[in-house]
């Protein structure tokens, strides 16, 4: 194996080894477990950094594959590693964010009884995500795709002894599974058509010179997108993500930035050549992502829980990434994914500092507990929010500008106008969050009914590790924006060809809308004597509608969940009455028969074996004498 391939394997092997070692051998030794997990991510980070350097030239990629279980007339399933600038950069982002989250968790999770298990799961998450990013075959992607889902399930339900996290983990697992059915079917169709599902072959077969008919490409693209919608929390399947806030806050930071939800977006980018051959599907995805981005922005405007605001904003920003990809720019979509990974991880970590301090997720409760005393939290929340809102020169500005530019070039005026509106809403709800959490003046205590807080276990220090991660990521929000040109040189120029500082009408419109959003938030929440209630919150109907996920969960509860439960009841009745009845009948018949036959039994197992084998041998001899089995 050549060096780069070895590095790609090492990047996956290190977290896997750490995960297995911790879960098998270090459950009782939390410090060693945390150290080992962090060390494995340092190794992975080094290896992926090497990958990024190796593919620093455009259009270069590395493949190393081996056929798994070769069968003469069966499919030749090649498994291995494949990386190009996109995958290498993504793997570096994954390793970096996971490492930052691990360092942060050293402080945040200190004293938790499941400390070692937590780090084992984090390493599992890192391995699954790196495996997904570097996989060469869609079947392999599918395996890691499910492993990512498993790791999310384990981490969201980390405090499984409480009922809310356990329910949230179940919901996340089941809702993403709905989409994964489509993904599985799509991959199976590809395997049947091509004999394998190697990513490069799939992309080549969908192009104009490829072997796929447009109809086939459209079908498979739709099926694969179902998986993407589930994983990246879009369209009708997004309601699991706000509930996933029940997990530990660093898990949210990881889940919402570089892993899990990013997997769907990354898959679209990876298979962009394939999806581009199904333009109707891409147009549908564009509008779905746009609708999701706007709908979740309205939900973020009324949420009281700081983590829920961030969760809705993640869904909204994922919508922007998918919009850019659907409009045709890998660079813009992936650029936004990269900057978002940095500032969203930062925002969750900063929120975690406040939650640790105030023992509540409720922004109005946090505001009463001297939030300004948490220096690192304030710095992190403000710089992350500036990036999320898209204020120049923070990273979010550049990537969102690239997304909007792509939409302007390829998606038409209506989509662009709505995307601008979304950018304004983003700025509004982001700064609503900032000023609700860190009020300018003093605020009175909130009543008990206002508190949606959750009791976090008693923390035991470790603030330095948390502050360190937050400060590093805060600094990055000022740097990451300048990566656009670097990425464009490697992924293609669409969408960012004007460079980050090209002031045309577009950036000015976006900045004006962002400024308007922030100004509105200032009037309603920021200034002294503000009412601290937004325009949407004052209308009870809107507040209920937005705050309840547009009643989507109730709709699912009244239809799908009820039908599913009814089906399960019927299945249970069948199981208890028909199947168990049959097996009970067989059992009692056996007992009854045994009572009669017991009279001929001596009771020695080996005597029976000897008799049985002698009889079989005699039968064999007789058959051979007779001349075979004809």
């Amino acid at each position: 194996m050549s060096g780069p391939v070895l590095a790609a394997v090492l990047a996956q092997a290190a977290p896997l080894a750490a995960c297995l070692t911790i879960l098998i051998g270090l459950r009782e030794r939390p410090r060693a477990a945390a150290g080992l997990a962090t060390l494995s991510l340092v190794v992975a980070l080094g290896a992926t950094a090497y990958l990024v350097v190796v593919v620093a030239v455009p259009d270069v990629h590395w493949v190393a594959q081996t056929t798994w279980l070769p069968v003469a007339d069966g499919p030749a399933l090649a498994f291995g590693v494949f990386f190009d600038p996109l995958a290498a950069t993504m793997s570096f982002v994954v390793a970096f964010i996971t490492l930052a989250v691990m360092v942060y968790s050293l402080g945040y999770m200190a004293g938790d009884p499941g400390f070692a298990r937590y780090f084992g799961f984090l390493a599992l998450f890192a391995w699954a995500m790196l495996g997904l990013v570097l996989a060469s075959n869609l079947l392999q992607v599918l395996v890691f795709w499910e492993l990512v889902g498993l790791a999310s399930f384990l981490l969201i339900g980390f405090w499984f002894e409480q009922s809310a996290p356990a329910a949230a983990a179940r919901k996340a697992f089941l809702m993403t599974r709905v989409g994964d059915v489509g993904f599985l079917l799509g991959v199976l169709l590809l395997v049947r058509a091509l004999g394998n599902a190697t990513i490069s072959d799939v992309v080549a077969a969908a192009g104009p010179a490829g072997v796929f008919s447009p109809r086939f490409t459209t079908t498979v693209a739709l099926l694969l997108l179902m998986g993407v919608i589930g994983k990246s929390a879009q369209g009708p399947l997004f309601t699991w993500l706000p509930d996933a806030m029940e997990g530990p806050t660093p898990v949210s930071a990881l889940l919402h930035s570089a892993t899990m939800v990013a997997a769907g977006v990354f898959l679209v980018a990876r298979l962009h050549g394939f999806f581009a051959a199904a333009p109707e599907v891409m147009r549908g995805l564009l509008w779905l992502a746009l609708a999701t981005a706007l709908a979740t922005a309205t939900m973020a405007m009324v949420a009281e829980d700081i983590k829920r605001v961030l969760a809705y904003s993640t869904i909204s920003q994922l919508g922007y990434m998918l919009m850019a990809l659907a409009a045709g720019s890998v660079t813009a979509g992936f650029f936004h994914l990269t900057t978002h990974a940095g500032f969203k991880a930062l925002l969750f970590m900063a929120a975690g500092i406040f939650i640790h301090h105030a023992h509540s997720n409720d922004m109005r409760v946090i505001a009463t507990k001297q939030p300004r005393s948490q220096r690192a939290g304030v710095i992190g929340l403000v710089s992350g929010s500036l990036a999320l809102a898209g204020v120049i020169p923070f990273s979010g500005y550049f990537s969102k500008e690239a997304v909007l530019a792509t939409l302007g070039q390829h998606a038409g005026t209506a989509a662009l106008a709505l995307a601008y509106l979304g950018a304004g809403l983003t700025a509004y709800y982001t700064f609503r969050m900032v000023w609700l959490t860190i009020p300018v003046g003093a605020v009175g205590a909130v009543g008990a009914e206002g508190a949606v807080g959750k009791v976090h276990y008693e923390p035991s220090g470790g603030d330095r590790a948390m502050a360190a991660s937050v400060l590093v990521l805060s600094a990055l929000t000022l740097v990451l924006g300048y990566l656009g040109g670097w990425l464009a040189a490697r992924l293609g120029h669409e969408g960012v060809e004007h460079g980050p500082f090209a002031f045309g009408a577009g950036p000015l419109v976006a900045l004006a809308l962002v400024a308007a959003g922030i100004a509105l938030a200032w009037v309603e929440f920021g200034r002294r004597g503000a009412a601290r209630a937004g325009f949407a919150e004052r209308v009870p109907a809107l507040r209920a509608f937005f705050g309840d996920n547009w009643y989507l969960d109730r709709l699912y509860g009244a239809t799908l969940v009820r039908w599913g439960t009814a089906l399960s009841r019927a299945a249970r009745w069948h199981d208890h009455t028909v199947l168990d009845g049959a097996s009970d009948g067989v059992a009692s018949g056996t007992v009854w028969g045994g009572r009669i036959l017991a009279r001929v039994q001596a009771g020695y197992v080996q005597a029976y074996v000897a008799v049985a084998i002698s009889l079989i041998a005699a039968l064999g001899v007789w058959l051979v004498r007779r001349g075979g089995l004809q």
Binding site: D73, G594, A598, V600, Q601, G603, Y604, V605, Q606, V609
Partner: protein, 101 residues
């Protein structure tokens, strides 16, 4: 190496397993002996498919399935032994003769 030599090895394994199955009094030892016999069958299958002029992969796949079956069987058998030991405090087959007529 001819097919016959594989069959010879398999026959030896089978004989050893059969002897152990009949001779040992511990359930665990009997299970180990049984696994030996199963391994002998796997070797036979792999060797004989090549003799039958078929693609060798067929026998290999069957052998792989046998490995899976053997693992499942061992898991069930061992859990039964544990249950028996809890109930009877022994896994000596000579002591386990409740089915005597």
């Amino acid at each position: 190496m001819t097919v016959a030599s594989y069959l010879f090895v398999a026959a030896c394994l089978f004989g050893i397993g059969l002897y152990g199955l009949l001779q040992r009094r511990s359930l665990v030892a009997m299970l180990i002996a049984l696994e030996l016999m199963l391994a002998a069958v796997s070797i036979n299958v792999v060797a004989l498919t090549t003799l039958a002029g078929r693609d060798g992969a067929l026998g290999q796949v069957v052998a792989l399935i046998l490995v899976g079956v053997a693992a499942a069987e061992a898991a069930i058998a061992l859990s039964l032994f544990v249950a028996i030991h809890r109930a009877r405090h022994t896994i000596d087959v000579e002591q386990l003769s409740e089915l005597t007529g």
